[in-house]
Structure formats: C-alpha cells, structure tokens
C-alpha cells in the first residue's frame, strides 16, 4: 500500500469501488502532514461569527487547521482574518481569547500591528533599521479570501479557490437550516456566549465522518436513550415529526458536503413538542406555523447532523450547534463547539435550550461523551502495523444512492439514499473521502472545480 507521494491515494488508500478505506489515512503522520497542505491550506474553513466582533477593534482568536488566526473588525468596521504570528520572529501577537484592542503588539520585540493588519510600530525603526524596512511588506499575513454568510465567517488561504458560496454549492440550503430562524426568517441565529474547546485523542476525520451522517451508531447512545436527556426528559430528542418524515442521506458529490435530513410530507401540520414547558412549546408551535407560511422549500426540511468539507459539523435542529474539528497532529483533535438560538426567542426559551445543549453536547454532554470514547479507541486500535494492514469497510448501501430525488413535490440535490427503511448507509462517508482523496491528489483548484467543467450552469446558479 502506497503511503508516500501525492499520487495513489484513490487506488491505494481510498477505494470507492469497493468501499474500502485504509487506516493509514487516519494514523499515518506523513499523510497528516500532507493533508495540512493539500486540504486545510486550500479549503474554506469556518472561523467564527460576526456577533463575536460587533464593534471596531473587537477580536476573537480562532484556528484554521493547526494555525492560530485572529478574526477582527478594524477601526473602519471591515472584518479581517489574520495569521496570529508576528512577521519578525513568529511570536503570537495575541494570546487572549477575545476582547477589544487598537493594536496587536508582539511581546517579543515589540512589533505592533493595527487592527487592519498594517505594521505600525517597529522599535528603533529609524535607529536600528535606518528607516529602511519596508513596513508595507511586513503586515500581518491575511487570508487570501474571506466570506461572511448570514453571520458566519469563513476563510481560505488559497486565492485560486472558488468563492465560498460556489464551494458550498447546493449544500447551502442545509447550512441555512441552522443560520435562519426556526420560523424561517433569514439569518436569525444568535451565538450563545462561550465556545466549548476540548481535546480528543483521535484523528479529526473520526468526528468528521461521524457528523457526515452516521445514523448507524445510534446503538452507542443506548445509555442516554434509556435515561433520557431530551427536551421533554425522554430519549435524546423530541420530534414527533420524525415518525412521518422521510429520513435521507444527501451527499453533494463534487463538493464533499453531506448530511442526514428529514423531509416532511406535503401539507404536514406542526406536532406538539417540548410538552414539559408551556412557554417553549408555544414558541416552537408559533415558529413551525410561521415557517410553513413562508415560501421556500426549507419549510419541509428538518435538519440533522451534517458536515461541510473538511472539518465543520452542523447540527441544525436542537442542540443547534456548529463544531470545528481542528487537527492537532494525526492523533489529536481540538474541538470547538459553538451553540446557537433564535435571536428573538424569549429568554425562557433560550435558557431552556441552553440547558439542553450543555447536557447533550460537548465533553459533559451525555450523548457526545460516548462518541468520544469510540473515536478515541477506534483510533488507538488502528495504529499498529498489523491493524494498518486491514482497511475499514464503507460499503454499506453502495449502489443505492439516487440522483434527482423527489418526494411529494420536493426535489433534493446531490446523491440521496432513503434511510426510512434502510436506517443507515455509508454514502456520506464515501462522499467525504472521495472529496478528501481528490484534494490529496489535485495539484490545483482548477482540477478540483470539476463542476465548472461538467455543468457550467450550476456554477453560475450557485452565485
């Protein structure tokens, strides 16, 4: 099995014809190093939320791949994403998590940068540099592209990458499910204060593929199903709708984004939910009715776990969160989990949901705890030379995806597997690793933008 060199990933390590993927892509340090270049330095990565930096001078220190970056709003109000590293000798210019500032000053030699990234302060500029240093060349390194979409901020180090919305493609409507209000109004998501950050001893792709749509692992959450953690104190969740909905996998093949989603029957009426809290029940009843009145196909979609390539997980229903799986070496992942509520929801509703989010998700989340145990020891038990000889199987549902899926008048994009009877498939994981292999093989974004060659109209539509 080939593990060195940029070529050979698809036949050697990611075999989509048989649905077999080598353990090497999870545990091999050389592949990890190459992944940093080929995947993370070229992909659109989630950086943060505009509500974290409402005022000029506000900043939030985030990560892109292994690197620390600063999301900030300059004095003129423009949003930037900078590499958090002094151009002179590399020291972090900001070691706070967030705050407000007029400058980012390096503690090492005192170089100082404005919130627009410009190098403004160089100690002994006249005396030691004899005024010869070209300050304009030595500002903070800024990302090649940045995009703010409905409050979320995304960035990319590669100037040749397509614009964010084209990168997102037809997955946009699934991201909208989390960023729009529960009542269907655009961009109503409000970020709750505090980002959960913690370490998991596993490769970042374990959580990435899980959130791509692993509906097969429900058994691992049996204990929480038994004791109940849901909004009504039962099971894990609280949606009668799911009993009448179609449960689907949707995979956008040339983008590498994929999700579980539920489609409600045409003309479906809201069902009672959150029954142990009248105020919360009333809020969601109101929202469900409102969103059914709004034009647009999303009123029949109920969001579920999904993944935007490479490392952003979304959970558009409750608990409503975005999670970033930051790689930290081949064998460790630093998770950052962001939680959202509707901006205009009553305080009691926000509080109710917040309580639910905390007991469900994150390191103290009664559900997510068991996931991390699985990822931890799946990774650990795949590191040995013998274990590495044996690939994982991803053949579940191979050949059962359809295109142009339609149910009761609702047409869905991409490749779709109906899980209503099947329960599970590995179409989303195959989709993730197909895209991953393409990134590992391609030398440029030109090769990766297959849709511009195959279907020019789609690229235009995405804009």
């Amino acid at each position: 099995m080939t593990t060195n060199g940029p070529r050979g990933y698809r036949p050697g390590l990611v075999d989509l014809a048989t649905g077999q993927i080598s353990r090497e892509i999870f545990v091999n340090d050389d592949i990890y190093a190459e992944e940093q270049e080929r995947v993370f330095a070229r992909s659109w990565l989630f950086v943060g939320h505009e509500s974290q930096i409402p005022n000029p001078g506000d900043f939030f220190v985030s990560r892109m791949g292994e690197e620390s970056v600063i999301l900030c709003r300059d004095r003129a109000g423009a949003v930037h994403v900078f590499l958090n590293s002094c151009r002179h000798r590399g020291m972090k210019v900001c070691r706070y998590d967030d705050g407000n500032t007029t400058v980012f000053t390096c503690p090492y030699h005192g170089w100082s940068y404005g919130t627009d990234g410009a190098l403004v302060g160089v100690p002994y500029f006249r005396e030691a540099y004899h005024s010869a240093l070209d300050k304009a060349r030595w500002g903070l390194v800024e990302v090649a592209q940045m995009c703010a979409y409905k409050g979320t901020v995304w960035a990319n180090w590669d100037a040749a990458a397509p614009p964010f919305l084209e990168y997102l493609g037809e997955f946009r409507r699934f991201l909208d499910l989390i960023l729009d209000g529960w009542d269907g109004r655009e961009g109503q998501a409000e970020l709750l204060g505090g980002v959960q950050k913690w370490l998991i001893p596993c490769n970042w792709k374990f959580p990435a593929e899980n959130f791509s749509g692993d509906s097969y692992h429900n058994i691992s959450h049996r204990s929480v199903d038994l004791v109940g953690v849901g909004p009504s104190g039962k099971s894990r969740r609280d949606y009668g709708e799911l009993d009448v909905a179609r449960k689907l996998h949707v995979a956008i093949p040339d983008r590498g984004h994929q999700t579980i989603t539920y489609v409600l029957p045409s003309g479906h009426q809201p069902q009672p939910a959150y029954q142990n809290s009248p105020e919360v029940a009333e809020y969601f009843r109101h929202c469900e009715e409102e969103r059914r009145r709004r034009p647009g196909a999303n009123s029949r979609l109920i969001g579920a776990p999904g993944e935007i390539f490479p490392n952003l997980a979304l959970l558009p229903r409750q608990p409503r969160t975005l999670a970033v799986w930051h790689p930290k070496g081949a064998h460790q992942t630093e998770v950052w989990r962001f939680f959202f509520v509707d901006r205009d929801a009553p305080a009691a509703v926000k509080n109710f949901l917040r309580d639910y989010y905390i007991r469900y998700s994150g390191p103290a989340g009664m559900t997510e705890q068991d996931d991390m145990e699985n990822w931890n020891y799946a990774h650990a038990a795949s590191r040995g030379v013998i274990a590495r000889r044996y690939p994982y199987t991803y053949e579940m549902g191979l050949g059962h995806a359809v295109e142009n899926y339609e149910w009761e008048g609702l047409l869905l994009p991409g490749r779709v597997v109906d899980l209503t009877a099947a329960q599970a498939s590995e179409e989303p994981m195959r989709n993730l690793y197909r895209r991953w292999a393409e990134f590992m093989e391609a030398d440029s974004w030109d090769e990766l933008m297959t849709w511009r060659r195959n279907a020019p109209r789609e690229a235009v539509a995405a804009k």
Binding site: T101, T102, V103, T105, P107, G110, S112, V120, G121, P123, Y124
Partner: protein, 66 residues
Amino acid sequence: MSGPINIRDLAVGARVVLGSGAEAEIVSNPNDGVWLFARYLASPRDPALVGQEDMIFAQDVVEVRP
C-alpha cells in the same frame, strides 16, 4: 535616571519625557505597555517634530511629568 516606567495605564493628556530630551503629550494609549500615541510638544534636537504625532516606544520614555 529613574527606573523603568510602566506606560500601560498612562492617561490620555499625560506628558512624557523621552530619552532624546523631547516631550510629548499622549493622544491615545493602546494599553499594550509597549507603545503610546503621542504628539510632540518640544523637541530640542529636531524642532521639526513639534506638533507631529508619533508612536512612542516604552523604552524611550524616561519620565512622566507630574
């Protein structure tokens, strides 16, 4: 010669004396302990600086006027 001065929390309007003998008034303080934004009030060595704004490095500040 006094010891090092912590400029981090000096107020806008405060006057500082620099090693060059110049005197400047703080127009804003980024509170980073390294830099001040100040306007020259006097500059015996280079009178052209008077009235100009500049970034003042902490190590250049030798005195804060009472």
